[in-house]
Symmetry: C2
Subunit: 433 residues, 2 copies
């Protein structure tokens, strides 16, 4: 274990101070702190260790995370006292005002602790901070094992007791989702890209941010969560959903209907007729029935390609991959290639991802050879259908051509075991008297 | 469905504005919004419905929650533009500053959207709000069923699309944990009190707050989470953990060693000798071996009782309930009764809660009769050992004397099914051209 450095924290990290005020803990920490204080034991030097008893997911390891948030929490640990304090501190919702109106932490505590509580205890709380607390810890991101201490927190008994719930809250889920992400990374292998996309299924807004952040530390490459990109610098990714595809019904909705040649003549080229021509050739090449092709899907793809000619990666299974989506993709992608752009690839979001990816890749190769378009060699196939660690492992056993995997629910909710269960146990108390 | 009222929000609710900025969404909402905008369809009137496909936990119902947060989110939906805007807005971490330094939402979006994005789109985003959006919804707390719309969001296509992930994030977990709490309430029956105590196992700090808030709406009576009490007015509860008990080794550590008679003579009474006397009588009554009693536990109980004579509810299974904890409790509680105080009860946190609660109640009745203390009739028994919905139902089948049940992990992580899976689907698009 290394002692933690005390480098100053960046502005993004202020958020932890607002989300983890000293009241974000279990009431019994305060009743116990009071009882220690009353007995005169509150300054007694105490050491607590934070560890878990079993590796999650039936596995052989975990990845420790949450340390940085713990450091920020300890540095900012201080009870707000009067309204003026809170105004000075920026008057934020979490630390300053409650359903009861503008009262401070200490006053709120006074209202929930038993009436017998000695008023001098609140004076004691007003002066508390973590200046007497030492945190020793394994580094964030370390592979760790059960029953080995992750953090050692030493300091005055009452203070170190008060920190328990908050530290557990900051380490438990962060380490759990980081370990889960690491297992997905192991299952996916080092080559495949992994995209975290679980915001909508996480435990509310901040649960989602926490999941995005620690999935990235655990080995994911990308997140769909824009705010996570903003706050933590995680690369963000995403293109289109089925709703976009199904909101189009005909090629008449495409606008503008032109696109300029890449880096060339700025005169716009009519792409509607170009696309129809390429679609006919693709259908001929693949012996496909033009009658099964959905024009609305073609319109959606074309419209998106005109908006983002260098970022064309549509979801191709809104109707049928083989009878409509793939053909429409190839037609629009061939238009882009003709005009000098590089299409990016496709997303599959339903059905047998492995089989479909193999079929899709075969068609890409066929188009590449038949129409002599080198760009079709480097098209990317993204798979995103309810992926679990198990289904990720099965991907490796089957023939498939999936380059990037998107994972949502099973990653951010840690379905297989949704809690880590770290505990915080006293290891030594030096009896002073 | 009723249209949502527009009453002003209280100060505590400001937190939602900070936690759910418009960037807390999936990137593809922006790429789609841009593609709609490019095609001139962004103002097209659109209606999306939010619903889930299957009731969670294999059950027949859910409880809808999260509406109030959605309203606050819609009211505050606005992109920050310049640094000055952010300073006016209070310069909070989530909406104002990122790992890249002080840049605004729109500038960050410009950095992650493809370079081909028309600069006029960012001008469009700068002017966006939800003034053109109508939210119709079932009331918060309504019992709801699968495939029935919970919310209907109508407005300009691009705006309503941008709201998708955030609304799902606000409804999915809130409704899931509220439904889970309602199932615990049904399993517990109407009489038993339910305490939520999952903060340490939730998805980080705000995941924990969300869980506390919506467990209360779903039918819990109390929370251990002090900040949830502060922000949402939920009654908070909690007394002592095993660490408090085990931190004592002998009666010499008890201080002060006196307690005044309730409402009577302020002269303090020596409670050490009183306690020893009562312990001897309790051991005799129950034919217990005094040699098995842990003096540290007795010291912890006594010390806590002196601090909180009207709130004495210790955890009695740090060593052995039958051979030590229960006897120590009775001795200290009898001291309190003798001095005119009403002890509250005991907490059981391990082993067979049902059997232990029956044994404990039997001893309470015996003491009550033998020592003629009426107070022992109304003692409360709290059970808190890894309770699940299943184990709660089993409680009802067995003979037991548990008055209050504390639930943590299984409640806040919704172990049986940790995600609800609400979706947000377009139901009508009025084609304008």
């Amino acid at each position: 274990m290394a002692a933690v450095s005390t480098d100053t924290c960046g502005p993004a990290e202020l958020s932890v101070r607002e989300r983890v005020p000293p009241l974000l803990t279990d009431l019994y920490q305060f009743t116990m702190a009071y009882a220690y204080w009353r007995t005169g034991r509150h300054r007694e030097p105490a050491v607590f260790e934070l560890f878990f008893r079993d590796n999650p997911f039936g596995g052989g390891f975990s990845v420790f995370a949450g340390l940085h948030d713990c450091q920020l929490f300890l540095r900012s640990f201080r009870f707000t006292d009067r309204v003026s304090d809170m105004e000075e501190a920026g008057f934020t919702a979490y630390s300053a005002v409650s359903h009861q109106g503008a009262i401070c932490d200490v006053e709120f505590l006074r209202s929930v602790l038993p009436p017998a509580t000695d008023p001098a205890f609140f004076q004691f709380l007003r002066g508390l901070d973590c200046s007497g607390v030492t945190l020793r810890s394994v580094p964030e991101g370390t592979v760790v094992f059960a029953r080995v201490p992750l953090m050692e927190v030493a300091g005055p008994l009452a203070v170190v007791q008060l920190l328990e719930t908050s530290l557990l809250c900051l380490v438990n889920f962060a380490s759990l989702v980081c370990s889960n992400a690491a297992r997905f990374r192991l299952a996916a292998g080092p080559r495949r890209k992994l995209l975290e996309m679980g915001l909508r299924r996480a435990q509310g807004p901040d649960g989602g941010l926490t999941a995005s952040r620690y999935s990235y530390i655990g080995g994911f490459d990308l997140t769909s969560n824009v705010q996570a990109g903003f706050l933590y610098g995680i690369p963000v990714a995403g293109t289109m959903a089925h709703s976009y595809v199904t909101s189009f019904t005909s090629l008449e909705e495409v606008w503008p209907q032109t696109l300029a040649v890449a880096g060339g003549n700025p005169d716009p080229v009519d792409v509607i007729s170009l696309t129809k021509g390429w679609l006919t050739r693709v259908c001929e090449l693949l012996s496909a029935a033009p009658g099964k092709i959905r024009e609305g899907e073609l319109a959606a793809f074309l419209s998106y390609a005109i908006a983002y000619p260098e970022n064309f990666l549509p979801v191709i299974d809104s109707y049928s991959v083989a009878c409509s989506g793939l053909l429409n993709f190839c037609a629009v992608a061939l238009v882009l290639c003709e005009l000098g752009y590089q299409p990016v690839g496709v997303r599959l979001d339903s059905g047998d991802l492995c089989r479909q990816s193999v079929d899709v890749r075969r068609v890409f190769r066929l188009c590449s050879e038949h129409f002599s378009v080198a760009a079709f060699h480097s098209l990317v196939i993204v798979g995103t259908n309810n992926i679990s660690e198990q289904s990720m492992m099965e991907l490796n056993k089957k023939e498939n051509e999936i380059d990037t995997v998107g994972v949502g629910t099973h990653l951010v909710t840690c379905t297989k075991q949704p809690s880590l269960g770290c505990v915080y146990k006293v290891t030594s108390l030096i009896q002073l008297y």
